[in-house]
């Protein structure tokens, strides 16, 4: 495996680790009674630190080390986690995320000086209300100004203490294998990390170092013996070696009284070890390779309990069902092939039906299996929205500090699954919605108190499946949308005219208009008048819709309704002048054949349809797309009422053929973008049908034909 691939796995595992830390920090913040919560956080940070060390990301490693020191103190009850400490834990998590991004090359290295100082203050008992200030955590090492982290550790207190009852310090023998310097690996960083943990080098073995005429520049010849503080966990020490080749020698054992040994090492938790180090050899010095050095290393005199117990860790820990990583390209190919299969199956069915062959059982079985295969293939790409939701707590924390508002985030349905493409593209709209909810929705604490509310505002983020779509809602318990103010602003901005009559719903929807902003002052959070416009554009691009539920004085809810996948679409198959088109079902409200009295002509080309008292503009698809032979008389055609962000409208087509799921093929990828068309599909008879871009068509027609709603009103 190439180094790049290993590094990619490391970063994937960093992401998983960060997600685990975030989840468990939230749990810990609510309830710190379960020691496993802080242990899980510790292990995740520790694994990130270990990987960072192995790959030479020293700033990340350095920061993770300080973070880990505090977490270690918490799990060992060296100090307690009051509100201030918890805030520091969250701030440190945010910085850890930034450090990982910096290591990936996706941002600059963050300035971590302030948080590092806070972490050190916690670790040294200067901040926390520790019960036992006399037992400070090991002094955090100072960073070397050159980046090569060398210990400046004060071990005096740990080692000089007459430990007449505590466990003996650890002895660690580390001898990297000969090829340990391959691919830019640097075992010396692991030695540095051991030193950072309070380790002291007690011997170096250079016996096998060849003379200059025989040495290879890129092979490893040295080995080291270190002594590490007794209060470290064995797992913690072994964690340093998570990313080294199993061929290297690593021996970790107590050098003193075995009776006081720590609890035996537990089986390594799943997830973070790419090349698991076999634990079997560690406690049996005799079994170590002959090259194992350290004549001063004394075998543990009598440790009957420990080795016996430690033989067990070879058994894998029970965990979630096993998973494998698959390249996305392979998955996409599979999904694409399944799409082709669905089309071919439909073509076969149609051909048989045209040939007069009666319905075959096998054919309906094939149909059933094809659908199931398609569902399964799509489900492989499905991901929980958690990966997007997990960004939200940080955004909330930043907004709290920027606005001075107090916010409690409630999250529900984060395991709701949706296609990966959708997950990837809802991040930005969601960020804007959250910012909008906090910045515009929630009031300042004093205003909330004055309104008889809890000073702490609530933002509720929820996801659920509803009728084959995913609905993501952001609800705040703030002041709600003040439609009078919205109207005033829209007139001021020239978005509407002063005499224009708009319903409450239409007024609420004005906040999605480009250039609209009700913020009294433009802040760096929102208020630039682009946020909600961007939200709507992105959501529309995903084939989704956005709805507002406003409760003046009590808050508002913004709901995104999105398709579960972008590869399949429920559509109505219609014909216009001999051509077949697909109208996405999500837009369709109803379809009807009008009576002549329902149609009102407004000039030679424009007309409106009276739908139960509402006058809706009629868009003739044949004319908009220049299709020859399309029916011109609405009474001979079918009118489809559609819902769009520009309001309801009517599309005029010749006939409705069918309603079915179609496999979407990108026009951009296979041909070129076409105005008014979002994509194409292949029908059962092998013909290509274009999928109408309802939003685009209605918006375009409104521009060409003028505002029908104004005329109708």
């Amino acid at each position: 495996m190439e180094l790049d691939e290993i590094a990619a796995i490391f970063f994937l595992e960093c992401d998983e680790g960060l997600a685990a830390i975030e989840t468990h920090l939230a749990v810990y913040d609510r309830d710190d009674s379960d020691p496993e919560t802080i242990n899980t956080i510790f292990r995740a940070v520790h694994s990130i630190k270990g990987g960072a060390g192995a790959f030479g990301h020293e700033r990340l490693q350095h920061f993770a080390h300080h973070y880990e020191t505090v977490l270690d103190g918490l799990r060992n009850n060296k100090f307690s986690a009051d509100k201030q400490v918890r805030a520091i834990l969250f701030a440190a998590f945010d910085l850890l995320t930034d450090h990982v991004l910096a290591a990936k090359g996706e941002r600059d290295v963050p300035d971590d000086a302030r948080v590092l100082e806070q972490l050190d203050a916690v670790a040294e008992g200067r901040l926390s209300s520790a019960d036992d200030a006399a037992a400070p955590a090991p002094a955090a090492p100072e960073p070397d100004e050159n980046g090569f982290v060398v210990q400046a550790v004060d071990l005096g207190a740990l080692f000089d203490e007459p430990a007449d009852s505590g466990p003996a310090p650890w002895k660690v023998v580390f001898r990297p294998e000969q090829r340990a310097l391959d691919n830019g690996q640097e075992p010396s960083l692991l030695v540095a990390e051991l030193c950072q943990m309070g380790g002291k080098l007690i011997a170096v073995d250079h016996e096998s170092l060849p003379a200059l005429d025989a040495i290879a520049a890129d092979e490893s010849y040295l080995g080291w013996t270190l002594e590490l503080p007794a209060d470290l966990d064995r797992d913690e020490i072994l964690g340093v070696f998570d990313f080294i080749s199993p061929a290297s020698t690593v021996i970790v054992e107590r050098s003193g009284e075995p009776a006081a040994a720590d609890t035996p090492a537990e089986a390594d938790e799943a997830g973070f070890v790419v090349t698991p180090v076999s634990l079997d050899d560690f406690d049996i010095p005799a079994a170590a390779p002959a090259a194992a050095p350290a004549p001063e290393l004394k075998p543990t005199p009598a440790a009957p309990a420990a080795p016996a117990a430690k033989a067990a860790p070879a058994a894998p820990a029970a965990g979630p069902s096993p998973t494998i990583r698959v390249e996305l390209d392979k998955l996409d190919r599979l999904v694409n092939l399944v799409g082709e299969l669905v089309i071919t199956q439909a073509m076969l069915a149609q051909r048989l039906s045209e040939s007069g062959i009666p319905t075959l059982d096998e054919l309906s079985d094939l149909d059933h299996l094809t659908r199931e295969l398609q569902d399964s293939a799509m489900s492989i790409r499905a991901q929980p929205v958690k990966s997007v939701f997990s960004r939200v707590p940080r955004i909330i924390r930043e907004l709290e500090s920027e606005t001075g508002k107090r916010v409690r985030l409630e999250v529900e349905g984060e395991m709701t699954e949706v296609d990966k493409t959708v997950v990837e593209r809802i991040g930005e709209p969601l960020t804007h919605m959250i910012r909008n909810a906090v910045d515009h929705g929630l009031e300042k604490p004093e205003d909330r108190v004055a309104a008889g509310k809890n000073p702490e505002g609530v933002v509720r983020l929820a996801a659920e499946h509803r009728s084959g779509r995913i609905v993501i809602s952001v609800t705040d318990d703030g002041r709600g949308i003040n439609t009078a103010k919205v109207r005033e602003k829209a007139i001021e901005r020239g978005i509407i005219t002063a005499d224009q009559q708009l319903s409450e719903e239409e007024l609420e929807n004005l906040i999605f208009a480009p250039g609209f902003s009700t913020a009294a002052t433009v802040s760096n959070i929102s208020g630039r008048g682009v946020g909600m416009d961007v939200v709507r554009k992105n959501v529309q691009a995903l084939g989704g819709r956005i709805l507002i539920a406003n409760r003046p004085g009590q808050g508002s809810t913004f709901s995104l309704t999105l398709p579960l996948t972008l590869a399949i679409l429920d559509g109505m198959i219609v014909t216009v002048g001999g051509q077949t088109y697909v109208i996405p079902l999500t837009h369709i409200v109803e379809s009807l054949r009008p009576q002549p009295s329902d149609i009102h002509h407004l000039g030679p080309d424009a007309m409106v349809l009276n739908v139960r008292g509402n006058y809706l503009p009629v868009h003739t698809i044949g004319r908009l797309l220049s299709v020859p032979g399309a029916r011109a008389q609405p009474t001979e055609a079918v009118l489809v009422v559609v819902e769009t962000d520009a309001g309801r409208a009517v599309l005029m087509v010749d006939d409705i053929q069918d309603q079915r799921q179609v496999v979407v093929k990108s026009l951009e990828a296979n041909y070129q973008p076409v105005a008014g068309i979002t994509g194409a599909t292949i029908l059962g008879d092998g013909r290509v049908a274009l999928i109408l871009d309802v939003e685009g068509l209605v918006a375009r027609h409104n521009q060409i034909g003028g505002d029908f709603e104004m005329l109708a009103a």
């Binding site: 980046g147 090569f148 060398v150 890129d218 010849y221």
Partner: protein, 96 residues
Amino acid sequence: MIALPTLLDTQAAGPLLADLRQSFAEPGDVRVDGGAVERVGQAAVQLLASARLSAAADARGFVIEPVSAPLLAAAKLLGVQELLWPEGEPAVVAAN
């Protein structure tokens, strides 16, 4: 005189080995300038240690001077400081 580069990682160890062998092929003491080193890895530290041992075996002089703080720190970290400077810890110069 071999002037060590600023970045002395495993990649830079190959050229360093070639330089050291070249110097050892010529008569006289071997002198290494380590004043510019800002980052150094195990590979290069090993080579310097090997050169030191080879020089001792040949009964010839081997001097690393000046020494930057990172070079000394790496030698200490890997436990070869006394091997490289048996006469005592060298004074360090600030790396440029």
